[in-house]
Symmetry: C2
Subunit: 183 residues, 2 copies
């Protein structure tokens, strides 16, 4: 199933990334796209919208994002968990990972890396800070454009190690209990 995504304010990116979902990171180098699974990421700033993630140097995507300084963070939901697992357990080795996993690449607006049509949200990123790449393989990105389908309570996947995932559950609204400045 493909999600029609609408332009979304990058300053609100946290609403979709802070919950800690498994993400699919796409990159493109020399005309070839790649995709990988990732769980080690965090928001770092509202504006500019910064997100940091760890990308092991042994991963094929590491070189691509380091050279191109671009990527897209896509958020999958439980309906495509099988595809997520395929991506996470496959080596690039010349194969088109996206196609093999049954995922559809669609053009992004600001970067070469593609969005994934089967993901409800995609965040186009440009490398902002590489100070920790050498020692920690940690990249800090600026989200330059966000695309989100406004489904309610997306059933995102959250990795618990050892092949187990937690699926996002119910949402509860405590806005009334918050100080206005904290909303």
């Amino acid at each position: 199933m493909r999600y029609d995504k609408k332009n979304f304010p990058v300053i609100r990116s946290r609403e979709h990334l802070e919950t800690g979902p498994v993400i699919l990171v796409t990159s493109s180098q020399s005309g070839r796209s790649n995709v990988m699974t990732m769980g080690w990421h965090t928001m770092m700033q509202f504006s500019p919208a910064l997100v940091g993630f760890y990308l092991w140097e042994g991963n094929r995507s590491h070189e691509a994002v380091r050279q191109t300084r671009q990527c897209v963070i896509n958020i999958p939901t439980a309906d495509i968990v099988e595809k997520v697992i395929t991506v996470g357990n496959m080596h690039a080795d010349g194969a088109d990972k996206l196609k093999t996993a049954g995922l559809t690449a669609i053009a992004s607006s600001q970067v070469e890396a593609p969005q994934i049509a089967e993901c409800y949200a995609s965040f186009e990123c440009r490398l902002f800070e590489d100070r920790l790449v050498e020692d920690y393989s940690f990249f800090v990105w600026e989200i330059v454009r966000a695309w989100v389908n406004p489904i309610t309570a997306p059933r995102t996947l959250h990795y618990r190690g050892q092949g187990k995932f937690m699926i996002a559950g119910e949402e509860v609204d405590y806005a009334e209990r918050f100080q206005p400045e904290n909303l």
Copy 2:
């Protein structure tokens, strides 16, 4: 309700932090403890077990963790969501936040900062890398000791902004689909 926690291998810390739960970060300075809510954190390495988080410099805890270079990351569950919200919407101002929020501080083994008894997991941390503190308020910690109560499928809280939380849902086990080296 207080959770009896057992010593847990720090190399497996990701099993509890990677899902992206809201955490309660405690610190201690000059004999006074403090607690704050936080959602912007990520695992960064298996061994040493590194976790990074963003802590705004306007937050009272920022000074405490920067000076003492110690903290404890505690993970609350949905049963204490009200206490979490109290902590997140309260200023320190001399008040004992932990007590006001109805949380119980218990001694840690490796650091001065306390564990929270009502949290099912606590990770004692020492500052490992402060290179990004000045420009990004981003701290990289080494988890030196982990304490976890072995409840299954903990109903952790995940913040979606604007006062809304997602509560962790069901767990699914796909270990059979994983390459052995990825487990």
